[in-house]
Symmetry: C2
Subunit: 186 residues, 2 copies
Amino acid sequence: MRVENPPLLILAISGSLRRGSSNTAVLRAAGELAPAGVEIALYDAMASLPAFNPDLDDNPPPAAAEFRAALQAADGVLISSPEYAHGVSGMLKNALDWVVGSSELVDKPVALINASPRATIAQAALCETLTTMSAALVSEASIALPLLGRVLPPGGIAADPEIAGPLRVAVQALASAIQARRAGVT
Amino acid sequence: MRVENPPLLILAISGSLRRGSSNTAVLRAAGELAPAGVEIALYDAMASLPAFNPDLDDNPPPAAAEFRAALQAADGVLISSPEYAHGVSGMLKNALDWVVGSSELVDKPVALINASPRATIAQAALCETLTTMSAALVSEASIALPLLGRVLPPGGIAADPEIAGPLRVAVQALASAIQARRAGVT
């Protein structure tokens, strides 16, 4: 008897709290463009994550425990983040700091979307941190999207073929990497 | 009539909330070692700073407004921070993100202490961010201290000549940079 694969769950994490954030918009669009059998859930509790405190690593505050559980439950992670002052969004890095010791990202397929191709320093720093955390970076799913200064169609990013095209391919590549990994361990 | 210079106020910022943090200990020691006329105040409200939200940049939450005011009131800044997963402490970067737009660090003398000389990636990234923010980095006050694995004397860092010596020199160098700047604008 052949059992159907359960749907893939990808946790999408935006590095910006701005309401009109391009990064958050890209992640929402990724959810609309995801193929059947792939669910993309936006992590929306970043604002409630407290500042990382190593003394609480073994007994984290509820928001940090929930973030860890959300990562643990996900088959893969899709990150899109702005660069602030040539550095990683502090809020995003603080979230990652909460899971350095607890290891939810170890061997987890992760794709990095860069919504601002001119911002390369934070992207490189994020890549270095995720590699140090032993996340499985999926390079073929990590793309730059030329969103800056672009007038999007009424349907938003998912309706813009020049952005939706590569974004759809990236999501598929992340899903394929997750499936390959699943097959490898089955 | 010659008016005495008011005392110099240096805001000390630790990148770690850990109770036994070496970085916080270094900053406390710097306060003990400061020369007459130099006051070093430890910023102790980092845990209450919310995640940066660009939408609130012009109307920040109270903790962010207080952080900005503390920086504005300081003549200089002394930072000591750990490196987490080859990156800047997210909590510290989040604090800096709150003042990128409001500009309290522009032209402000800043010294970076590195309490773990083997951790060079975060220090370089912090340097890049502070330079991008137009802070006036004081290189002769930015030193590495070999604290790791060291058994400190009962009096702590300030009682250890091999660490207190260079730390005292660094504080003096930061104070001199502030004074030179003051003299320049008088």
